[in-house]
């Protein structure tokens, strides 16, 4: 996706104003991008607290850094790049400390009100999918989250991960094959499952 010149110019102005203390400019930028960055961080870390920290650090880094260049792409892509580095740093620290990064209720955080059997089954399925994605190697996980959930193009993912499009395709292919294997029981249609 090529950067829209109007948005790029507007966002550059807003970054400049926000750096000079304009709160409205900062909030406009923040509310435009916070959801995407939060959801990316949450899917990568599976921790609400970690995702919130990453969003905060990401926007402060944008305000403090001078490296954003509209010629190189959209602000959204740039923010994903910052968030990616923060996520990787956290995951490495978590690995070193052999600490569980997953919040206990985070796997089915969206199913706070489980009333019926259907809700319970949905929560269970979501949990299985979340676990399968979490078991992917980190670079494959990143590719699948950005492509499937954040709906970025291959070119955008390549820019964020600083690799070529071919490498993105390869990571995605391997991630999807692994997921297909791990999630086979959920992929079998119900009619076939009953007949087994």
């Amino acid at each position: 996706m090529s950067p829209s010149p109007i948005n790029a110019a507007l966002e550059s102005d807003q970054i400049r104003s926000a750096r000079n203390g304009d709160e409205y400019a900062f909030l406009a930028l923040y509310h435009r991008h916070r959801r995407a960055i939060f959801q990316f961080a949450w899917r990568m870390t599976r921790s609400q607290a970690a995702a919130e920290d990453i969003v905060q650090e990401c926007f402060l880094a944008l305000m403090q850094g001078a490296a954003f260049n509209t010629a190189r792409g959209e602000l959204r892509t740039y923010l994903y790049g910052i968030a990616r580095n923060l996520v990787f740093r956290r995951l490495k620290i978590a690995e070193r400390e052999t600490e569980e990064t997953i919040d206990a209720p985070a796997a089915h955080a969206c199913f706070k009100n489980i009333d019926t059997l259907d809700d319970l089954i949905s929560a269970e399925r979501a949990d299985l999918i979340a676990n399968a994605v979490a078991r992917l190697p980190i670079l494959q996980r990143e590719a699948i989250v950005l492509f499937t959930y954040e709906e970025l193009s291959l070119e955008e993912i390549a820019r964020i991960a600083n690799i070529d499009v071919g490498a993105v395709k390869s990571r995605l292919h391997r991630a999807r094959e692994s997921l297909r294997t791990m999630l086979t029981p959920l992929l079998i249609p119900e009619s076939r499952r009953n007949s087994l």
């Binding site: 926000a18 750096r19 203390g21 709160e23 900062f26 909030l27 923040y30 509310h31 916070r34 959801r35 939060f38 959801q39 949450w42 899917r43 609400q48 919130e52 969003v55 905060q56 926007f59 402060l60 305000m63 403090q64 955080a109 969206c110 949905s122 399925r125 979501a126 999918i129 979340a130 994605v133 699948i144 492509f147 499937t148 959930y149 291959l154 395709k169 995605l172 999807r176 997921l179 297909r180 999630l183 959920l186 992929l187």
Partner: protein
């Protein structure tokens, strides 16, 4: 990449939570702490940009007002008499006695009788 196959539909069953208001407040607070100095500090470091012609016009206006006010001031009622030796004129006419021949006489300061 096929985004509409069965795997893709299945993956979308895993939804993520929405960002919370607490996070929004926290981020806004962190931004204010980093990029908006406290009001007391900002007063002492405040800068005002004034165009040079406006500043010149304001300075001329202040000068004109001061000059006009000085011209309106009434002259002093009594100028202090310089305390130097020389000819004085006694304005107080108490005890005035005309000389018999009507002639004026010049006296020095030391010849003035002390009234006390």
């Amino acid at each position: 990449m096929n985004k509409s196959d069965s795997l893709d539909k299945l993956l979308h069953e895993w939804t993520s939570p929405e960002p919370t208001e607490e996070m929004d407040e926290r981020v806004a607070h962190a931004w204010r702490s980093a990029f908006q100095p406290p009001r007391a500090r900002s007063f002492w470091t405040m800068r005002i940009g004034i165009p040079a012609p406006a500043l010149l016009a304001a300075a001329l206006a202040v000068f004109a007002v001061v000059f006009w006010l000085r011209r309106l001031e009434p002259p002093a009622a009594h100028e202090a008499v310089p305390q130097t030796r020389g000819i004085v004129t006694q304005l107080d006419a108490r005890g005035f006695e005309p000389l018999p021949n009507g002639e004026a006489r010049i006296i020095s300061v030391g010849e003035i009788p002390d009234e006390k």
